[in-house]
Amino acid sequence: MSQIDFESVTKVYDGDVVAVDDFNLTIESGEFLTLVGPSGSGKSTLLRMVAGLEDVTEGTIAIGGETVNKLPPRNRDIAMVFQSYALYPHLSVRENMSFGLKRSTNLSNDEISERVEEAASMMGISDLLDDRPKQLSGGQRQRVATGRAIVRKPAVFLFDEPLSNLDAKLRKHMRTELKRIQQELDTTSIYVTHDQEEAMTMSDRIAILNYGELQQVGTPREVYDHPANLFVAEFIGSPSMNIFDVRYESTGDGTGRLTGDIDLEIGDRAPMLEARETDRFKIGIRPENIHVTRDETSAQGVEVFIDLIEPLGRDDLLYFSLDRESSEQIVSELDVEEDAESGDIELDDHKAFIEADSVDPTRERIVLTINTQDVHIFDAETGENVMLEEPKQEQPASTT
């Protein structure tokens, strides 16, 4: 119906700035795909190329099997929700919503107003139809912008960070609502965001981009549990994955151990490390996979320094360091941060979820255990996840 195909899509600005590099992907009809990545990763450029707002430098984009490279936006049967909403300030909500229908369809005025009413009730903005955008709150404007897109019943929805101008609570609410509407209408959707949480909660599949290159595509579960490389591993998940530098020491009999920031027996996973040219790796462990040891003499235990314990309600979040100096440095930085009253504490620190009130915060040190099965191992040079069975040929794993 309206599958979207990207074939070797490349975008070059001003002759030398490569914004998107050889992008290949097929989005199934009715699928909700999120493009996620840091700013400058090319995700918005991709979306705008689908919309026809940017030229495609090389490669082809096809919607429903038809190549659209040279079609102007109006002929692509798409609707887009902008970050700034882009509501026409001189038109009422009703006129904003019917604007596209009047231009792109031959519907009679009655049919148009019927469609507008329908979309408005779906978005819960029926009472606002005669207001001007200026009179609306941020959340209401967002609803109108979405309403303006769905009223067209297009083949494809394009969302360009549509929720980033809303406050946290409203954003969470609109997330579910957008997802509900998309499922109801069963329309192919591309959703651009830099917020990995948004990507995780809304998408059928997530495509992670960095520096114009596709890093990985997969369901939220896949990219979370099996990140293709270090970049994806660190980008997806909040708080992000803990990364440690290690070296592989082969014991000669086909197995070995990791030593470095932390030491780890790796048992049956050794063959994959043996096969690598390098002996330098990075291991990643998600905060929920690190546990406080009851038996402090356990061999797999790692003794760490406690920086801070942040109560989150159900759990506590433990900030820890591997040695005393960095611990002291981090604690002093934490003080500064708190003085500045900046809400989020985002430090180059390791984190672990621990059971609420399970650790006395005045303690200096603690022993943590890590289950080898929960450890992701990445090639320190290429960043590739060495634990993934199938070699990834189409995905360049380098994050540089």
Binding site: A51, P73, R74, A79, M80, S84, A86, P89, R103
Partner: protein, 300 residues
Amino acid sequence: MATETDPQHAPETGSESESGLLTERYVELGKAIGFHALLWSLVTIVLFPVLWMIVVSVNQIAFDTFVSDPAAWFSDASMSAYDQMVNETRFLTWFTNSAIVSVSATVVSIVVCLLGAYSIGRLHFRGRQTVATFLLITQMFPAILIAIPLFLVFRDIGLFNTLTGLVIAYVAFTLPFAIWMLRGFYENLPTSLEEAAMIDGCTRVGAVFRVIVPLSAPAIATTAIFTWVLAWNEFVFALVLINDPDKKTLPPGMSEWIGQYSLNWDLLMAGALGATLPMLVIFFFLQSYIVKGLSEGAVK
């Protein structure tokens, strides 16, 4: 602060004694009176030339005579100068010519400038900065340097002594200014607006005329006023490109009265007021646009 009511001041003086408070109030009142006296006498001085123009236009009178005996001015007041202006001079012809030329030039200039300002203000392409700078540089061309060759060219191709020729000159003369003014407004509109319109089924041109133009109506009005004022005031081109007395516009036409009617001050003032009238009307009706344009045009 010399305001009549200063709410912030009350709490500060609250702790002081009753008499201190009173003195304070008198000082405040005195300051306010002083301020208003100063301001309004300055306003009167600034407006005085215009007031005097009106006085003399109905009765040619010396200032000292007027001050010593205003009644004399009043009893001899008449509209004869206006009558003479309408019936014995070409004032109405020139006025009409001025109106035709300035309005046509404004309309054409605005249409051309809409596209130009949109291009420079909103489209991103290599060369736009150069064009923008070029527009500014044309503003630094002395009008008289352009007028000489333009006169020679117009003489050769038959546009000399025609209002059409003058309109063409005025369009080019007002265009850079108009584009520069409108461009500032366009730059501040979010680009997603016409992108949304293009996705909603408009062509690029459609998006400009259905979304950008209606949105910028106030800015276009401001630009149009300024363009019109430039054209209404223009002297050099009008002087050089028109020779036929029946095709002259107001400024060069009236400038000949200086020699011709140098002692008919009432007629001169009547003419001056006649030329001022359209600008005054526009000024009072569209004042907010003008204030905005004047103060923002330069700052942006």
